[in-house]
């Protein structure tokens, strides 16, 4: 914040003239980029279609009614598949994440090198969304629930172990020292010092991930991961909008229920 000296005493401005000019140029540059991008999008848009949108939307919705409630009989078994996908995917992810997080946390990792490898695994599995993992895994293990489950699990490992190892690093060290000083073995120090402190985070993260996985596993079906997403994709392809709305409604209810369960579980553990 420069204080400038002028003829009639000190003058305070929030920025000196050069900084002010630079900021102005940056804003100008940003504005120019915005207008170029805007023109590009406008050129690539067929405005007749946009103008048509309200009519199309109304037509689209009208074709969803009356919903094909008879289709529920097919939707429910698929929903069960999707739930299984989410539950097993989460389970596998947690089973792998616990040891991985222990290896990745600064205070529990046996060696710096091990830590780097663990961190690399965590970053890699997290870097790609489960949809893309599913696309890849369908090529490897073939389409179906197993590919979907693996995709959910792989992505889950990255997300869960990151939160786990951060929780381990933030642990209160004094009780750990106290347990160590009783002559407890390393395994016992984990059991009595670490586990009780980490339990709320572990349960909270797991349940939250399960809830996210239910949502993700509905999409995964579209690329061949099985479950309710597969039905959704096929209904859209067949232009059976009356079936689409039944599926969408089922997903909505499921997600609501999952969120409610996850909130209750987190309350219970704290």
């Amino acid at each position: 914040m420069p204080v400038l000296t002028r003829g009639d005493g000190p003058l305070w401005t929030s920025r000196d003239p050069r900084e002010a000019r630079n900021r102005f140029l940056k804003w100008l540059f940003g504005l120019v980029v915005f207008f170029i991008a805007f023109r590009f999008i406008a050129q690539e848009t067929m405005w007749e279609f946009v103008a048509d949108a309200p009519f199309q939307a109304a037509d689209f919705i009208s074709r969803m009614f009356p919903p094909d409630f008879g289709y529920t009989a097919r939707v429910l078994p698929s929903l069960l598949d999707t739930m299984n996908l989410a539950i097993f995917g989460t389970f596998v992810a947690v089973v792998i994440s616990v040891p991985l997080a222990i290896l990745a946390a600064k205070n529990t990792s046996p060696h710096q090198l091990v830590r780097l490898v663990a961190l690399a695994i965590i970053v890699t599995t997290r870097s790609v969304t489960s949809l893309i993992w599913a696309l890849l895994l369908v090529q490897i293990v073939g389409p179906g629930l197993f590919a979907g489950m693996l995709a959910i699990a792989v992505r889950g490992i990255g997300m869960i172990s990151k939160l786990f190892y951060e929780a381990i690093e933030e642990i209160d060290q004094e009780p750990i020292e106290a347990i160590k000083s009783t002559g407890a073995s390393t395994a016992q120090v984990f059991l009595y010092g670490y586990v009780p402190q980490l339990m709320p985070t572990f349960v909270g993260v797991t349940v939250m991930r399960w809830e996210i996985n239910i949502r993700e596993s509905t999409i995964i079906g579209i690329v061949g991961g099985g479950g309710i997403g597969f039905l959704l994709n096929s209904a859209i392809n067949r232009l059976r909008w009356d079936q689409v709305i039944v599926i969408l409604f089922t997903i909505l209810v499921t997600v609501f229920v999952a969120e409610w369960i996850s909130a209750k579980a987190r309350e219970a553990v704290l």
């Binding site: 000083s181 059991l191 009780p196």
Partner: protein, 266 residues
């Protein structure tokens, strides 16, 4: 029973925290370790059970050098050295009983401890200790429900249940109000004397050091600068330990503490 020879500790960044400490502790002796913050009091007692790794020197416990022990022998030694912490260091989400019984972890196998299957004798002793510190009926309370004084009592029980020969006590009263602090100190000293344990107590309150210990050791800048039986601290020795200050101004208070000390011991 404990003999420390030329103990030095250098932390990665920084000067020597301990610059060659020599200290002998006899069986059943209660030592108060005083000194300004950063003098190395905490480091010294944490070196004894190797929560902090000493850089050089020897720590002979029952004639064996603790510094040279492997993992397994170190665990066996730690069983015999109990520790009490300033912030109590309880595992908040475990019950009082679980916290106390964790003092027995060195004696119980992994799977038994995982299933909380402790020998009946340990449980009996834990309950007796709880009773003794005035917390009977709290066995199933979660540690995070307790007040500071109650937590420290649980910490004391945990350390004693180890059946140690030596207690390391790190600022036991620093997080407590004066009255509770006094009660805790009295309780510790009572229990230690009853069992004939040796104890090293890090403490900030000079009054407490004089009142409750038999021997006062002063640490300054990682060196022992004072070592006399309790009751001999005067303004010049306080200056040696802590540095220049108008000690006379607070001396009358010290005297009155001495009286209550006799009151306690009688």
């Amino acid at each position: 029973m404990l003999e420390i020879r030329q103990l030095k500790k250098k932390y990665n960044a920084g000067p020597l925290a301990l610059q060659g400490v020599d200290l002998k502790v006899k069986k059943g002796e209660i030592i108060a370790l005083i000194g300004p913050s950063g003098a190395g009091k905490s480091t010294l007692i944490r070196c004894i059970n190797r929560l902090v790794e000493p850089t050089s020197g020897e720590i002979l416990f029952h004639g064996v050098d603790i510094c040279k022990l492997g993992t397994k022998d170190l665990r066996a030694t730690r069983k015999k050295v109990g520790m009490i912490f300033q912030e109590y260091a309880l595992v908040e989400r475990l019950s009082v009983m679980e916290n106390i019984l964790s003092g027995r972890l060195g004696y119980v196998g992994f799977w038994k401890s995982a299933r909380r299957k402790f020998p009946a004798k340990d449980i009996q002793e834990a309950l007796e200790l709880l009773d003794k510190v005035g917390l009977s009926g709290y066995a199933n309370t979660r540690a995070d429900q307790l007040s500071g004084g109650q937590r420290q009592r649980v910490g004391i029980c945990r350390a004693l249940l180890q059946s140690p020969d030596l207690l390391l006590i790190d600022e036991p009263t620093a997080s407590l109000d004066p009255k509770t602090g006094r009660q805790i100190m009295r309780l510790i000293v009572e229990l230690v004397q009853e069992r004939g344990l040796a104890a090293i107590i890090n403490i900030h309150e000079v009054n407490f050091a004089e009142m409750f210990s038999e021997r006062v050791v002063g640490l300054r800048d990682g060196l022992i600068v004072y070592d006399k039986p309790a009751g001999n601290l005067d303004s010049s020795s306080l200056t040696t330990i802590y540095g220049e200050e108008d000690w006379e101004a607070t001396m009358p208070k010290l005297d009155s503490e001495d009286e209550s000390c006799e009151e306690v011991s009688s």
